[in-house]
């Protein structure tokens, strides 16, 4: 699910480059709380892993985290869940949209499933919209504009996960 992330994350960057910081960003400031600028303490998982083990790096609580390349929604990591689990008392949607994101720690592209967590109203924290590879709703597999709380007992959207479901084919 998405829409507003743009306002928070992406537009912040664009506006910052293009407009008077005094005027624009002052007004944005209030909205930005909770978006991509949440306190980030990078989790250096890669460094902690022994050679030969899968590696990744970054902060799942940050919109910049590599798995969130096609996301649009509230990050479950900020809502009591994690990048691949739902918060307590919610229900994970079995159907969803996917993205293909590059893991900077190993240079591979992964297929990411953005399963929504449902059954409670909007989490409200860490709104993130990246939209890379996103498509309009005529491509259901790639659209984050839909409320993907489909096939769940409640249509209430709460937050979005980003689950690694496979290694993508290398582009030739």
């Amino acid at each position: 699910m998405k829409f507003l992330d743009k306002l928070f994350e992406q537009q912040t960057r664009q506006l910052a480059q293009r407009s008077s910081r005094r005027g624009m960003l002052k007004t944005l400031g209030g909205l930005l709380v909770g978006a991509g600028t949440i306190p980030l303490l990078p989790v250096a998982r890669a460094a902690a892993e022994a050679p030969g083990h899968p590696v990744e790096e970054g902060d799942p609580g940050s919109c910049d985290y590599w798995r969130y390349c096609a996301i649009d929604g509230f990050l479950c990591s900020c809502c009591g869940g994690s990048e691949n689990t739902c918060p307590p008392g919610t229900e994970m949607s079995p159907v969803t949209w996917i993205g293909t994101c590059r893991n900077p720690a190993d240079g591979r592209n992964y297929v990411i499933s953005y399963n929504d967590c449902c059954g409670k109203s909007s989490c409200g924290a860490c709104l993130c919209q990246r939209d890379e590879g996103d498509r309009p709703p005529y491509r259901p597999d790639k659209t984050n504009d839909i409320n993907w709380c489909l096939g769940t007992s409640s249509a209430a959207y709460h937050c979005s996960t980003a689950i690694v479901v496979g290694v993508a084919f290398e582009e030739k």
Binding site: K6, T27, S121, Q129, D131, Y138, T143
Partner: protein, 396 residues
């Protein structure tokens, strides 16, 4: 007599003096206000002025409490601007019928707020009272629920029927008879979404394989024929927006890269014309492209309006932009370039001879009004309770 008691005496004397003075002044005052009736509730005119807009706040942070504001953009003070509201629960969509005096809204409710039994409903609002005048219970768990769209519902056959687009994620259209307020049937649109009015009594849907699926209906609402057009775009490499501006019977679909496809919807089957570039050749190095949510609309003079942004990148296509470009659709020519105060996410244009442009500014979620002849900024409308006005509509 102590000091405290003395003080009390003085106060008492002052009170008596004031009272007698007050009585004498009352003789010079106008008569008292009449006693007012209680329980009076306002209503709106049957015909909305062109300056009125419907502002759909989807309630992104509390989707069960979405709301549509009826706003008079010609007024200069907030109490004059706000004409009324109605609720639309769970990011529904709305559609207006002037001839029936109704506004249709797709809504979803759970019996216990965010949980419990689910009910999907088409609510029929009265345009004058903004109250439900009827409803049609929709098939559970099917109706399209996502970012607000202008064509998730389609009025057909002179507003006799209403098609409601479904996405479960199986795609179809539920056809409703607005006279009887009964469901006529459900027409599958496999691989294709939404519903754009087509021909005398049909609609087209946009497909994953880059073509239209055009549906023709019989006089009783049953399916007559479905036709798939040739592919005209690639949803991976050259996607288009699902959001057209429809002028007369031509739907103008912008592409993410900045082309626009004119599609003739006058016949039973959508007919895709030659695309043309929205960006003048001399400006293409700046990588201008459309962007936004409700990013395009049209006026009654044959022009369409679209939000544009420079430096387009993968993922920027829904982020809005700093300018609105206005085109003479038939002439395939840009006629005005409006530099916004800050940024635009969604826009709408009023009907009539002297249309005004409304733009949602996402930096503070205010509405900005612009003159469509000069491009001049007119005023900001804000502070009326809006939080996430993701879609706006000119009143019909």
């Amino acid at each position: 007599m102590n000091h405290a008691f003395k003080g009390q005496c003085w106060l008492a004397a002052l009170a008596v003096f004031s009272l007698s003075g007050g009585v004498s002044a009352a003789q010079d005052r106008p008569p008292p206000l009449p006693i007012e009736p209680t329980g009076v509730v306002e209503s709106l005119p049957a015909s909305y002025p062109p300056s009125w807009f419907l502002v759909h706040d989807a309630g992104f942070f509390h989707m069960g409490d979405g709301k549509v504001y009826v706003i008079d953009t010609a007024a200069s003070t907030l109490p004059e601007q706000v004409k009324g509201t109605f609720n639309v629960s769970m990011i529904g969509n709305i559609s207006q019928s002037v001839s029936r005096g109704e506004i249709y809204a797709t809504e979803t409710f759970h019996s216990r707020g965010s949980r419990g039994d689910r009910l999907d409903v088409l609510t029929i609002f009265d345009r004058q009272t903004l109250s439900p005048r009827g409803e049609v219970i929709l098939p559970t768990g099917k109706r399209f629920m996502g970012m607000p769209e202008r064509y998730a519902m389609v009025l057909l056959d002179n507003d006799r029927w209403l098609g409601v687009a479904n996405f479960s994620p199986a795609t179809s259209v539920t056809l409703v008879d607005l006279d009887t307020r009964k469901i006529i049937g459900e027409i599958p649109t496999p691989g294709c979404v939404l519903s754009y009015p087509t021909g005398k009594r049909g609609f087209s849907s946009l497909c994953a394989d880059g073509r239209f699926l055009s549906t023709e209906l019989k006089a009783d609402g049953s399916l007559a024929k479905q036709t798939r057009t040739d592919p005209f775009f690639n949803s991976d490499s050259s996607p288009i927006y699902e959001r057209p501006a429809i002028i007369g019977t031509t739907a103008y679909f912008p592409s993410v890269a900045g082309l626009v496809y004119p599609v003739d919807m006058s016949g039973a089957v959508a007919k895709v014309g030659e695309p043309w570039n929205l960006v003048p050749e001399s400006e293409r190095a700046e990588n201008w492209a459309p962007a936004g949510i409700g990013l395009i609309d049209r006026d009654d003079q044959g022009r369409f309006y679209i939000i544009m942004h420079p430096g387009a990148t993968n993922g920027s296509y829904q982020g809005g932009g700093p300018e609105v470009w206005v085109y003479d659709a038939a002439g395939k020519k840009r006629v005005l370039r409006i530099k916004l105060q800050a940024w635009g996410l969604t826009l709408a244009v009023s009907r009539g001879k002297n249309p005004v442009l409304m733009v949602v500014n996402p930096t503070d979620m205010s509405l900005e009004m612009y003159n469509t002849s000069s491009g001049d900024f007119i005023r900001t409308i804000s502070g009326f309770g809006q939080e996430t006005p993701l879609m706006v509509h000119g009143s019909k």
